[in-house]
């Protein structure tokens, strides 16, 4: 018995033992496959769905045009998805499956920063590129890894424009509050640093435990500090509570920003008036002035095409996914093939403009070419108010 057939036998036995069939769809000849594990059912399933739509939209668009055009040949695109239940262990396991079972060479990042850090440890050891569309934590990028690239602005840039707005509006007293959780912590820590840089005084900074049912002690303390502007970070549940309690407590900041929230489904609907004039930094908005050099569409063009397929206007999640695949597409074309090492090197040299924005990586793999826009809820609709070149309308301050 040859070693490979024996190996297959053992694997087969084990797979029966583990109740899993290893039967894979035979890879079609001219097919290029990507792989990712997303939160399709966990507590981040809402975001997971948006992320997936962006990937699928790319696949659909490219395949409708006959496939990826690499070295004069057309390759159909396919993405292998798994559900990571928003669970780190599951996610790492699934990436190992993508790599060693499904033989996927080109990986797309998972959703969520903690998960991305754990997964990138694995992909780095495998020396396979991981293009991250949705992992914003700066700690992902500052470990000196060579195979990770993030198309999005990392978390320490999130609040930059909001703080800058504050200083331009002569708001000098900033209050910061975050959930005691990785993403929010890094984001708010970033805001504190930027405030110092831009000469805004941080008059209050604290964190709260996840799942809290009453934020009034924090808000009362915050109120006592008399802030002009509040920036808060945490997951949607808590942000809805926070928004309600801010008004109940009688806090009336001139500006109220969230790391995440106002643009997510449900936020405006549940909060009504309390959502009005809140700010959120977004990776992308429909008004960004970029024309895609691969597909030729503008941001609005993308949104329209997307809406035809999925029936809703995309926020930044889908296009970020699409952009990650465009990074790969561009690299494939430059390499003229699919050797992972060469593709990795080509990705490092990426310098493209997409409808999402320009993409160019520093040596940590962070996209340094684009910046964040700031969105404000006005009359129940999110509109871009900053920076000036992409603003749809003017920023409104609370009276």
């Amino acid at each position: 018995m040859s070693s490979s057939s024996r190996r297959r036998l053992v694997a087969g036995c084990l797979s029966i033992l583990l109740g899993l069939s290893t039967v894979m769809p035979a890879a079609a000849q001219d097919m290029i496959r990507f792989g990712t594990a997303l939160s399709l059912t966990g507590n981040l399933a809402t975001e997971g769905k948006l992320v997936r739509e962006g990937y699928d939209f790319f696949v659909k668009t490219v395949n409708e045009r006959g496939g990826m055009d690499v070295a004069g040949k057309k390759y159909k695109v396919e993405i292998v998805y798994y559900d990571d239940e928003s669970n780190v262990n599951t996610s790492v396991k699934l990436y190992e499956k993508l790599i060693s079972e499904d033989k996927v060479k080109f990986l797309l990042g998972p959703y969520g920063s903690g998960i991305t850090i754990a997964v990138s440890n694995l992909t780095e050891q495998h020396k396979l590129p991981l293009v991250i569309a949705h992992g914003a934590a700066s700690t992902i990028y500052n470990r000196g890894y060579k195979y990770i690239f993030g198309v999005l602005n990392s978390i320490d840039h999130y609040t930059y424009n909001m703080v800058k707005m504050a200083s331009e509006q002569k708001l000098t007293r900033l209050a910061l509050l975050n959930e005691n959780q990785l993403f929010a912590q890094l984001g708010i820590d970033g805001a504190a640093r930027q405030a110092k840089e831009l000469g805004v005084e941080v008059v209050y900074k604290e964190k709260y435990s996840s799942g809290t049912k009453d934020l009034s002690p924090e808000l009362e303390k915050m109120k006592a500090a008399k802030p002009d502007m509040i920036i808060a970070g945490g997951y949607t549940n808590d942000m809805i509570l926070l928004a309600r309690q801010i008004s109940q407590v009688g806090l009336k900041p001139k500006l109220l920003g969230y790391l995440l929230g106002p643009t997510l489904p449900g936020f405006v609907k549940s909060l009504g008036a309390d959502a009005e004039l809140t700010l959120e930094p977004v990776q992308w908005s429909i008004n960004v002035p970029y024309k895609d050099q691969i597909f030729g569409w503008t941001a609005r063009g993308y949104a329209d095409a997307f809406q035809k397929v999925y029936g809703h206007v995309p926020d930044y999640h889908p296009i970020q996914s699409t952009a990650a695949l465009q990074v790969y597409y561009n690299a494939f074309q430059k390499v003229g093939g699919f050797d992972p090492q060469k593709v990795r090197d080509a990705i490092a040299e990426t310098d493209i403009v997409t409808a999402y924005g320009p993409i160019r990586f520093n040596d940590k793999g962070q996209n340094i070419a684009k910046s964040m826009s700031v969105v404000q809820i006005q009359d129940g609709k999110p509109v871009v108010v900053y920076p000036a070149d992409v603003a749809e309308t003017k920023l409104k301050l609370n009276p």
Partner: protein, 293 residues
């Protein structure tokens, strides 16, 4: 001083909500020695039913609330009658694990039916609040508090003034003697679970109006109920109130004076202390069940 008073008042309001939420958990635990880990999911179901009743059927909140209670009441009865009664004689681990599995199943069902989106009903009360002695009380929180108190009194009345309450109490003290007194114990167990369910349903309705909810948000409610019940004393109605208030106040004061990140840690430290020093809880005399193994 004003600040501390305001925070304590907020703690009391929060405590009322905690108490209300813990009541259903407590009565099920006290009477049947079942720790229902799916309790939080039942609260979520109550919230979803409320939301559907309000947004899709266009019912007023006051009508949606009993509907939510009815839904979870029925669910509770069927669960206990069909499944949990079979485990009555088994070890406490078994029911614990069983309700854990049930919780997973309910979460998944909720995810399929309602998606993972965070939802919330538009706030009926908004920013309105009134003032007592210079302290502001938001109408929303005050309403929750009032409903919680009403439920507590209602449960108290039910247990002490009705034949069903009599049967429930008797069963909790001594199931065998209850059987000898002509009480259909499996039926009473099912009704008790159903009442616990109804309370979860009402809690869910309150959550829908003032908080936000999603299929996975239930677990934090289960945990809180746990702490409140142990603090106050198993199966004790005054215990639930006192446990709830104590937890609300202590949590809020901890947030005020310590870093708020320690909020939960302080709650659980309190729990550990009570367990070590007074395992029956603060009010847990021989109210319902004795501390059963």
């Amino acid at each position: 001083m004003q600040l501390v008073a305001q925070i304590v008042l907020n703690g009391v309001l929060l405590g009322g909500f905690y108490a209300c939420m813990a009541l259903g958990f407590s009565i099920v635990w006290g009477v049947m020695n079942v720790v229902n880990l799916a309790y939080g999911s039942m609260i979520m179901i109550g919230a979803y039913v409320t939301q559907m009743a309000v947004l899709q059927l266009g019912l007023p909140l006051a009508a949606a609330l009993p509907l939510a209670a009815l839904a979870t009441f029925t669910m509770g009865y069927v669960l206990q009658r069909a499944l949990l009664n079979r485990l009555a004689e088994r070890s406490v681990f078994m029911t614990l694990i069983f309700t854990f599995g049930l919780n997973m199943a309910l979460i998944n069902l909720n995810l399929i039916l309602f998606s993972a989106d965070v939802r919330s009903l538009p706030d009926v009360f908004g920013r309105a609040s009134f003032t007592i002695a210079g302290l502001s009380v938001p109408y929303g929180r005050a309403t929750i508090f009032a409903v919680a108190m009403a439920m507590t009194l209602g449960l108290h009345a039910l247990l002490n003034w009705t034949p069903l309450g009599n049967a429930i109490k008797a069963t909790s003290f001594d199931p065998d003697a209850a059987r000898l007194s002509g009480i259909d114990v499996p039926h009473v167990y099912a009704l008790t679970f159903a009442i616990g369910g109804a309370i979860a349903g009402v809690t869910g309705a309150l959550v829908a109006t003032s908080y936000s909810f999603s299929p996975l948000a239930g677990e934090s409610y289960t945990m809180k109920a746990f702490v409140v019940v142990v603090l106050g004393g198993l199966g004790s109605i005054p215990g639930a109130i006192i446990g709830g208030m104590l937890l609300g106040i202590v949590e809020n004061l901890a947030s005020l004076f310590l870093d708020s990140g320690y909020r939960d840690a302080v709650g659980f430290t309190l729990l550990l202390l009570v367990l070590i020093l007074r395992p029956r809880g603060l009010m847990g005399r021989r109210f319902f069940a004795e501390v059963k193994g």
